[in-house]
Amino acid sequence: MPNAFWCIVEDDRNGSPKKVMAEVIGEAARLAPGRVEAVWLTDKASEAGLKQLGEWGASRVLLLENAAFAPYRSEVWTAAAADLAARESPAAILAPVTSRQREFVARLAARLGVGLAADSVRFAMEGDKLVATRPVYAGKLLSKVTWAKSPWVATLRPNVFRPAEAQPGKTAAVERPSLSAPGAQMKFVERREEVSTGLPELTEAETVISGGRGMKGPENYVILEELGRVIGAAVGASRAAVDAGWRPHRFQIGQTGRTISPKLYLGFGVSGAIQHLAGMRTSKVIVAVNKDPEAPIFKIADFGIVADLFEVVPELTKEFKKLLEK
């Protein structure tokens, strides 16, 4: 349908959309009621996954199912999505911020010759134009941007937008547009899985625990992981801890690491340098525990305890356990 708001589906590589799609679809529905369509490039979509997109509020799913779409390659996805966009003339193309969507929609915007607003945290229709708001300069300022023409292409920061509530029984019309399988220059060699911590992924987690220089060494992160298991939180680290070699880079929160926006952030022994704040400042509730009452993180914390984290963490784990067992 022309003028639709496309939501590019991020999936779990096993045929199901990730839950961040409820946020993208929810926001699209607020901006363009009745014009929300999901566009899914995948090697295999599950029936349950298609049903889920309908329940979240997509009125139509454009399913591009082809073995060539996995693993993701920007050149292949771009060619297919651009062909489809030429046929469908969407008003907007929205995707969640993930490693691949950041690249894909940027490349797609170049192919379509339109602007891109990455990592947006707010949208508004002003007249007949979309205006996006996005953090810039290490999150110190917000930039409002708009497009010269549509489709308006944007990525959405996870955990910021209110997710659509699933409406059981609501279904989307699933269409499988015929597209020739695009050729690829890149050849897939292998995937190397990370050693699983058993904890949620940093950018997706609703609760994130972060350990900074105050952790004193890599061996002490076990106490944060134990707390993480109790409350279902991801465990990240500050740049100081990563640069000291205590944690791999993929756990870094901040300007040169992951940007997170959880419902609850708990920082232990984190000073709150600007580059760290850049990656977590849009968290909803911020808790800081630090021995130093002057630590800058207390300036943005909702709750602070000035104490030794090695006393606080075990106590907190115990109290949360009690609470959650109730």
Binding site: S74, R192, I300
Partner: protein
């Protein structure tokens, strides 16, 4: 092998930024400028490829006003052979696509086998130019790379990109575009000899007309900059550790409803 590295000059993270009188840009008075950290990973990787192969040329390219020369000079001090400065008022409001178009025109002139970029610039955090450059060139592209190896005959590169949950490894025929992620390498500091030598290296000024690019309005434009909405004042929970922790858990549950 000729390698082109794209870099951007950005305000140092710790620098205070203030909104300028136009309400759309920042007041540049008193700002300390640096090469965006991800771009330093790209420069370092290019230098390592050249050193490993024992031959080649590394060309640093940047778009921006006169001050950008300083950033290019520091790349030359690290070891880049020469630099190209896209310096034209026509690009003063360039969005990622306009920037990518200018860079693509330079790439066509220079014909490198590899383009290395940083994952994103830490001022506007768009992270788009690399992908858009690859698209305009029709080249394959790997984002957020953590390692790369170029085959001995210089025909292909094997790159491992960081994705949620692991690394994905691909073979890309050259020419190709790669975006550097933190963890790819540890950038070197310029030596005194490097700094002295950089003064003699060429920084070529290029205007839009030199690239045959007609001025066109940006597809994405800034309507305005805003200060962050203030966070409500926080609360330091007093008392000994067991008491403070009990109160914190209660407050998170009952007041903030965060757990």
């Amino acid at each position: 092998m000729k390698i082109l590295v794209t870099i951007k000059q950005v305000p140092d993270t710790a620098t205070q930024v203030k909104i300028a009188a136009d309400g759309k840009s920042i007041d540049t008075a008193g700002i300390t400028w640096i090469v965006s950290p991800y771009d330093e990973f790209a420069v370092e990787e290019a230098l390592r490829i050249k050193e490993k192969r024992g031959q080649g040329e590394v060309v640093a390219v940047s778009l921006g006003p006169d001050r950008v020369k300083e950033a290019l000079r520091s790349c030359l001090a690290m070891g880049c052979d020469r630099a190209i400065h896209l310096n034209d008022a026509a690009w003063s409001a360039a969005d990622t696509l306009a920037t990518a178009k200018a860079l693509a025109a330079v790439v066509k002139q220079e014909a490198p086998q590899l383009v290395l970029c940083g994952r994103q610039a830490i001022d506007d955090d768009m992270g788009a130019v690399t992908a858009q450059l690859a698209e305009l060139l029709g080249w394959p592209c790997a984002y957020w790379i953590m390692e790369e190896t170029i085959d001995t005959d210089g025909k292909a590169v094997r790159a491992a990109r960081q994705v949620e949950g692991g690394l994905e490894v691909f073979d890309l025929p050259l020419p190709a575009v790669l975006a550097a992620q933190k963890g790819l390498n540890e950038p070197r500091y310029p030596t005194l000899k490097g700094i002295m030598g950089a003064k003699k290296k060429e920084i070529r000024d290029v205007k839009a007309a030199d690239l045959g690019i007609a001025a066109e309005p940006s597809q994405l434009s800034v309507v305005g900059l805003e200060a962050l909405p203030p966070r409500p004042p926080g609360r330091i929970i007093q008392g000994d550790v067991p008491t403070a922790v009990k109160e914190l858990v209660r407050a998170l549950r009952e007041d903030a409803k965060a757990i």
